[in-house]
């Protein structure tokens, strides 16, 4: 059986299509890679920010500081003996 000429013409077109798709896929991969890198950097920056904020919370809520604020600034006092019977 002999293929018509028009059928043979599809071969280079098909190859061209595949090549174009390959280029497009490479471009998509490249773009995605850039995006992933940006997101990773952002994630790392956020993790660092969380660490800093956690540290700040720990520093602001340290018992010695709370005691100082309660006693000096708010004029609070520790409970007297037997004042706390149902903690």
């Amino acid at each position: 059986m002999r293929w018509p000429l028009t059928t043979w013409l599809f071969v280079p077109l098909l190859l061209g299509g595949f090549a174009a798709a390959q280029v497009w896929l490479s471009h998509v991969r490249y773009e995605l890679s850039q995006q992933t890198q940006r997101l990773n950097a952002e994630k790392q920056a956020l993790a660092l920010e969380v660490s800093k904020l956690n540290l700040e919370v720990a520093s602001l809520t340290r018992p010695e500081r709370l005691r100082e604020i309660a006693q000096r600034r708010l004029h609070m006092a520790p409970p007297r003996p037997l004042q706390v019977v149902h903690p």
Binding site: Y30, S33, S51, L55, A58, P63, E64, L82, V85
Partner: protein
């Protein structure tokens, strides 16, 4: 014609030769060229192959280090005790900095210009100028935009509780490795390992997909401690307050749960681990595990426990305390207050050295030594801190009568505050020894093991006696917070000097105890080094114990009870007063009433001898373990 032909033929031949020569020359040149190309190809593809491949790879690939931040240390509630964050550091290429810009750079770095010039003088290449600086300082330097100055980032460790956890956690050096405390002993787990990732780059230097890990990063492990930040803070503040009041040299506190979990470990004087270089190395040591002291009378409960376990002594046994002085070999033992006959509870309440010495001499060296060894004296607890002292316990073969008598009341032996707290946790645990632990993270902490040191009944008897020792008649009355029952023992020990004898004016005041006595939740050991106002454990260390217990017990949800102070309770006893025999000790002998009191866990106060004539309270109904029964006897 022939001549012409001949002439023409010679010319053709010469022409052909010339052409052939030219062809041969060109062919030779071509062959040479091909040969040179082949040689070059061999050179490039074979001889220089590796070098050129490496160069090409370097252009196409890039490696970068993925940092593994140090793990976080948290308390038992997840509150952060140590955290690492990235901070800027300032560096320079020394030979690229213009001498004219050193002045303004020094001003931005807040350092003298001379020291900056010294750092850069005669140097080439990379030089650290200021490490781990504040972001504000880094911004100030960046604004100057000086050629050769660069900003790097480094990890810095922060301890938000500062001095309160300084001795326990230790600190981390500039290279990110722990140098003291838990930061040092847990360094391998906390550090992690940085990873290396390789990526392909395009012509513009952008990373392409498909990177590979040459070495996977291992993140530092987070570690959860048994420490409670609030209790640690309470302990540190109470210790500091007690030391200030007594103008003492130092001290330490250990707070444990009976199951071995250390809730707080504080030492004074403190230091701030966030700027540890400003303190002397001697101030870095964790006194709760490194410093040993003679436990003094706080050892007596264990002498009594050994005596009760020997079977030769009962809780109701009486012992004659020689009216304050007793000779042992060539040595005379004294009591602070002369005592005559005392029962065992009285021995602990009055803290008689002679009574304790007599018990130890009676039961012998072996049971005493075994008891001290079993409760953990003379050996490291392996709690996970470096520099831990094993304490000092003489080998058994060196125990003569004088040594045995002295050790019975806590002289000639040295322990750490942690060892003392662990020993008292045996009493709180009903006779079980549990290894103390600081780390709660399950995969790190060793499996908790316990072993029985003494029968539960003996431990219970000792706790009852120690509760009596904190009553108004004992030496430890100042250790009891209102509304709670405490079982504990005071200790006052002379400090040995460098020549092996005792200092007459340097003492260690100690209190170790259990709270609440009826349902032990806390074991607290307080050691005050060289107090100046008073030397006695009951005056110096016991109030610190009370301060801590009064704050920590409500925090743990353990309610104070005001039962004894409410009128309706008195009414209940009065209502239940019943003269029917069986509810009264009237007519019983002293021995019988001692047995009864011991069985019910009552504190017995005896007047006279013979048979019971009357008792207070009138009925035994309503009395509970730890209550006082007073009896009057006549012959």
């Amino acid at each position: 014609m022939s001549i012409n032909h001949s002439f023409t033929g010679r010319g053709d031949t010469r022409q052909q030769v010339f052409i052939r020569r030219r062809i041969e020359a060109v062919a030779g040149l071509l062959a040479l060229g091909i040969a040179l190309l082949a040689i070059r190809a061999v050179d490039l593809q074979w001889l220089q192959s590796q070098t050129l491949t490496d160069k090409a790879e370097k252009q196409r690939y890039r490696q970068y280090t993925a940092v593994a931040p140090r793990g976080t240390i948290t308390d038992s509630h997840g509150r952060i005790l140590a955290e690492s964050i990235e901070v800027p550091s300032i560096a320079a290429m020394a030979d690229e900095i213009s001498p004219d810009s050193i002045g303004e750079l020094a001003a931005a770095l807040q350092m003298p210009e001379t020291s900056l010039r010294r750092k850069l003088h005669g140097r080439k290449g990379f030089v650290w100028l200021a490490r781990q600086v504040t972001p504000a300082m880094a911004d100030a330097v960046a604004r100057l935009n000086i050629d050769g100055v660069r900003q790097e980032t480094e990890w810095r460790r922060y301890h938000p509780l500062g001095p309160e956890t300084g001795h326990l956690l230790g600190f981390v050096g500039i290279d990110g490795h722990g140098l003291e405390g838990l930061e040092r002993t847990l360094d391998a787990r906390l550090s992690g390992e940085p990873g290396i990732r390789q990526v392909r780059r395009d012509a513009r230097g952008h990373s392409l997909p498909g990177g590979i890990w040459l070495r996977d990063p291992v993140p530092g492990q987070d570690i959860r401690l048994t420490i409670d930040a609030s209790i640690q803070s309470i302990a540190y503040a109470a210790l500091a307050d007690g030391i200030r009041k007594q103008h003492a040299k130092g001290g330490s506190v250990v707070i444990m749960r009976p199951d071995g979990a250390v809730l707080a470990m504080a030492s004074w004087p403190g230091y701030n681990p966030n700027n540890f270089r400003e303190y002397r190395p001697s101030q870095w040591r964790n006194r709760a595990i490194t410093d040993v002291f003679e436990p003094g009378s706080t050892l007596k409960p264990f002498t009594v426990a050994a005596a009760l376990m020997s079977g030769r002594w009962q809780p109701d046994s009486k012992i004659f305390c020689e009216n304050g002085a007793m000779q042992v070999a060539d040595h005379v033992i004294h009591d602070d207050h002369s005592e005559g006959w005392l029962d065992i509870a009285g021995l602990l309440a009055k803290s008689s050295n002679i009574g304790a010495a007599k018990l130890a001499l009676d039961i012998g060296v072996d049971p005493m030594y075994r008891m001290l060894h079993d409760i953990g004296f003379g050996q490291r607890s392996h709690i996970g801190l470096s520099g831990e002292s094993p304490g000092i316990v003489l080998p058994m073969e060196r125990w003569g009568p004088v040594e045995t008598a002295n050790i019975a009341f806590g002289q000639g032996i040295a322990v750490t505050p942690l060892q003392l707290a662990t020993a008292f946790s045996v009493l709180a645990n009903g006779g079980l020894h549990v290894q103390p632990r600081l780390i709660e993270t399950p995969d790190i902490g060793e499996k908790q093991s316990s072993r029985r040191i003494m029968p539960k009944s003996v431990a219970r008897h000792i706790v009852n006696m120690l509760e009596y020792a904190t009553s108004a008649e004992g030496t430890g009355s100042k250790a009891v917070p209102a509304g709670y029952r405490v079982a504990g023992k005071t200790g006052t020990a002379q400090k040995p000097d460098r020549y092996g004898s005792y200092n007459s004016d340097k003492f260690t005041a100690v209190f170790a105890g259990i709270a609440p006595a009826d349902n032990p939740q806390l074991v607290i050991a307080v050691v005050i080094d060289e107090p100046q106002k008073s030397i006695y454990g009951g005056q110096v260390a016991a109030p610190v114990f009370r301060n801590i217990a009064a704050n920590v017990l409500p925090y743990l949800g353990i309610a104070a009870t005001s039962e004894r102070e409410q009128p309706w309770h008195t009414m209940r006893i009065a209502d239940n007063a019943d003269p029917v025999p069986g509810h009264s000790t009237t007519g019983l002998s002293l021995r019988e009433v001692r047995r009864l009191a011991s069985r019910m866990g009552l504190h017995l106060k005896v007047h006279g001898s013979g048979w019971v004539r009357r008792q207070q309270p009138a009925s035994l109904n309503g009395l509970e373990a730890g209550d006082m029964l007073e009896v009057w006897l006549d012959d």
